[in-house]
Symmetry: C2
Subunit: 212 residues, 2 copies
């Protein structure tokens, strides 16, 4: 039984949204991918509403079982963090109102899950996303590939158990944590099996890491 996950790479100018179906054997299939945009000459509230409208339309169309969101960290550019945090808040609200579990994953968790290497660059992530989904070319722009990577990462990390996402999101409240979330202790046997499979895949993934 496949799990359908919607991944969001949050942003005010470009917000990547990817939907994948992931089978228990880790096979992943592309359902849809779009990059929502809002014009920079609109005020922030209207930009947020524009992105929110697009997000709701995609949720309505594809009805995912879980939402995976990039965990936002402090970066050098304060205005970027604010826009990203605002979009994240809006995405969380929309998911919560549809009673969808929301999980947060850091960029390094996503890179590690997808490429086997937590410091992989965008080209490596894009190439692995294309390979995992059996696409002929890398999804562009990077926000699209990142959103798909988030969705795949989430399905792989949780073993496709949509409900498991809730505790992950809870441990990420405030988005101030770093590294892995240390929730291993609470894993079900099925999740532990997934985790083992993920680790094995990560090792082989590292060995065959895509060259640019």
């Amino acid at each position: 039984m496949a799990v359908r996950v919607l991944g969001i790479d949050p942003g005010l100018t470009r917000c990547g949204v990817g939907v994948v179906d992931v089978e228990p054997n880790r096979t992943a299939k592309l359902v849809d991918v779009v990059v929502l945009r809002s014009p920079a000459d609109l005020d922030t509230p209207r930009r947020l509403a524009r992105i929110a409208d697009g997000l709701e339309a995609i949720l309505e169309e594809h009805r995912p079982q879980a939402v995976a969101l990039e965990r936002v960290f402090a970066r050098s550019d304060v205005s970027t963090i604010m826009g990203t945090a605002q979009i994240s808040g809006v995405a969380m609200l929309i998911a919560a109102r549809r009673v969808l579990p929301v999980a947060l994953h850091t960029p390094s968790e996503v890179k590690a899950a997808i490429t086997g290497y937590g410091r992989a660059d965008k080209a490596q992530v894009g190439a692995m996303v294309a390979r995992i989904l059996g696409l002929e070319s890398v999804p562009k722009p990077a926000d699209a590939a990142d959103a798909l990577a988030l969705a795949i990462c989430h399905a792989w990390r949780t073993g496709g158990a949509a409900g498991a996402a809730i505790s992950d999101a809870r441990s990420g409240a405030g988005a101030a944590r770093s590294g892995r979330d240390g929730s291993g202790a609470a894993l079900t046997p099925a999740q532990q099996a997934w985790l083992a499979a993920e680790r094995a895949a990560a090792v082989s993934g590292a060995a065959r890491r895509v060259k640019e």
Copy 2:
């Protein structure tokens, strides 16, 4: 003709919401003030939904003409900024969907407008809010007084012209600016008159500044 402004002091644990009616002669009347709360043991998406529900109920009940929000700045505690930015995003979305203008004001702008002194402390702001609104005691907790201060500040700074708030929000997109927003060049004659009145009030306000 009074303008009704809803002020929001954004926060995930406590979100102050104050509604005031402000007359063209700067007289302000309390309409309502509440502090919305969300339990820390809920995950962030549900906490945002809890606050959003409360905010929508107040908007529905009091139908303000404008929303004033505190402009968020980088502070030492990253998790606080994130929660505040997420709530701000949610508040902006809700306002935008009701086609309400949203204005951002910095804490020092609010303090300057209310007490005449941009570095006033919370007790001074609370005491002035109580005096302006003719209340027998200072609204508690501080989030309640801050939300009312934001609403009064907004009405005073814009001369009660709800439409003027849009350009203010636009100049604040990204919430990364500091100080006054330098929009003086775009003021209408009515707004210039208000600004002059505000400056006069700020001077006398500074002179009679409330002691603790």
